[in-house]
Amino acid sequence: MLKYIIRRLLWAIPVLFAVGTVTFFLARALPGGPFDFAGDRSLPESVVRNLERKYNLDWPLWKQFLAYWWDLLRGDLGPSFRSRSLTVNDIIKQTFPVSFQLGVLSLLLGLAIGLPAGIIAALNHNTWLDYTSSFIAILGVSIPNIVLGPFLIWLFGVKLGWLPVARWGADYTEFYLGFIPPMTTKFWQHAVLPTITLGTALSASIARLTRASLLQVIREDYIRTARAKGLRERSIILGHALKNALIPVVTILGPLFAAVVTGSFITEQIFGINGLGRHFVQSVTNRDYPVIMGTALLYAVLLIIANLVVDVLYAWLDPRIRYE
């Protein structure tokens, strides 16, 4: 098992290098450059040249490429061309925790709604309870963020005026341990709507998966054996069925979390959240090469770890699976 994990981690290095290389050249292939505009005005030619020299953009591309990896190996992700006072490391330190918090909260919401809904649907298979919850689940999967987010803003932010609609994380605060926010009322007020926006689809897919998995397990022989032994229905469900039915659910949490954190940029855009995804989108528009690179690499690390965790969890939870 350990050998398997080590091999996978070693394989992650060339994957990361490939991701970085592709991103580097794609970013450089974007038309225009980072210093084409300053606000609404274009900069004088000489200023642009000076700026380019400052950031070594006048070097040949291969030299810049090598220099980037050299800096990266020393943990330096480079400066941001747009937010001149910040380095990419600063930007990640300030904005990634916000994306992370959004991801964790949405995942918790997804589990809190999805698990019970899926279990109730499966235990009442082919009754109105099952049909209703399955219908709601597919409804939840289908509602896009770009529709739900603005709708929530309109309802709670504009019509009712209960909650703030933007600027979560705009005022930079210190996070405990680097990622836990201070639990103020303001934080929760900012977090509610984006969490619902992201968590709805999540809870719906968790519910669907839980239901399907539990239905399959209930038909297994060992459940019939447990019934034949005369066990109480409750201990059959809790002790035997659920434990096995949750294996695929647990294993999908990794990629779901990664998908939520990397996919939150639309939600961040809608609610004006100062998260990492929004910076990525902005950096593409601004041609802010180091920010594009830094965020893409960070996302890649996240996705690789998530996939590895799933495979390991899978083997750990299901003794039938063995990796050589």
Partner: protein, 322 residues
């Protein structure tokens, strides 16, 4: 065969045997049982008809501005009101159906073709072919999908334009905005194939062990024939379901890219673009009609294709005989 033998035996009543139906009839009989899947199919058909017939259905042109009729509420002249430039909302929605109808199926078809081809090759040939394809998909999996599509789209746009301007035939495309379609289709299909390739590969790996493939190989049937005549049809059902779900996903991805401002550019109408354009006005409680229409349509279509996927899954899954 079995039926023919039974008929010859005296005393067996043939009408007790299950009626033999054409596979398509049988498929439809099973599909129809899921009523929501039928609803989904109707919505999808409506979408296709609207997309094809948009020049005849839309009462106004999608670019026609009327600054005397800005942000009008719904009326007989403008069934869904007008937007911030006085353009008829209903007409723009209808034209946006054509945009989605061009982009989503093309992106799905290209993505699925690539996924099928790579998946088949990886699963059947194994060895270094498998390794190269899977490593490639590893790298693509390490990219967050839509972000990668965004980067590709932004990079491709000017290159495609320059390239198409060289040819007399394609020159008008650039001016009419069809380049964006090409860009979005390329970006979405580049991101879309690895998932399907893995699905197909898994299917092939398990099918390869079946005796009928061994038999085909023993008979000396060439590899391409085994691949496309024997393996592919058996691996298709989950792929068809994935295609249907993928259509909904592609519509949503196109809308999301346009929502972020990197996809279909105005004035070409796109539902995602309309949502972001009207977003600022959505905060005005005085203009709620700008809020509902594009959002509801995107949601309904994703919904429809999810249901179709569910229905196909039930109809094509042989383990689920009822």
């Amino acid at each position: 065969m079995a039926q023919a033998q039974l008929e010859m035996k005296p005393g067996v009543r043939v009408d007790l045997l299950p009626p033999r139906r054409h596979p398509l009839t049988e498929f439809w009989r099973r599909y129809r049982r899921n009523r929501l899947a039928v609803v989904g199919l109707v919505i999808a058909l409506l979408f296709v008809v609207t997309g094809i017939g948009s020049p005849w259905i839309a009462p106004y042109s999608y670019t026609e501005q009327n600054l005397d009729a800005v942000e009008l509420p719904p009326s007989w002249a403008h069934p869904l009101g007008t937007d911030d430039l006085g353009r008829d909302q209903f007409s723009r929605l209808v034209w946006a159906a054509r945009t989605a109808l061009i982009v989503a199926p093309s992106a799905t078809v290209v993505g699925v073709t690539l996924g099928l081809l790579f998946g088949l090759m990886a699963g059947y040939f194994g060895g270094w072919v498998d390794r190269i394809i899977m490593r490639l998909s590893d790298v693509l999996f390490a990219f967050p999908g839509l972000l990668f599509a965004l980067l590709i789209a932004a990079t491709l746009q000017p290159r495609f334009e320059q390239w198409l301007l060289q040819f007399e035939v394609t020159k008008p495309w650039v001016r009419s905005g069809y380049v964006e379609f090409l860009v979005v289709i390329t970006a979405l299909s580049a991101v879309g194939w690895p998932g399907l390739a893995r699905l197909v590969r898994g299917q092939i790996l398990s099918l390869r062990e079946e005796p009928f493939i061994e038999a085909a190989e023993a008979l000396g049937i060439p590899a391409h024939r085994i691949l496309f005549r024997h393996l592919l049809p058996n691996a298709l059902p989950p792929v068809i379901v994935a295609i249907s779900m993928g259509m909904g996903g592609a519509i949503l991805a196109e809308a999301s890219l346009s929502f972020l401002g990197i996809g279909i550019q105005p004035p070409t109408p796109s539902w995602g673009g309309m949502i972001i354009n009207n977003f600022q006005y959505w905060r005005k409680p005085s203009a709620p009609w700008m809020l509902w229409a594009p959002g509801l349509i995107v949601a309904a279509l994703v919904f429809a294709f999810n249901f179709i996927g569910d229905g196909l899954n039930e109809a094509l899954n042989p383990r689920d005989q009822r």
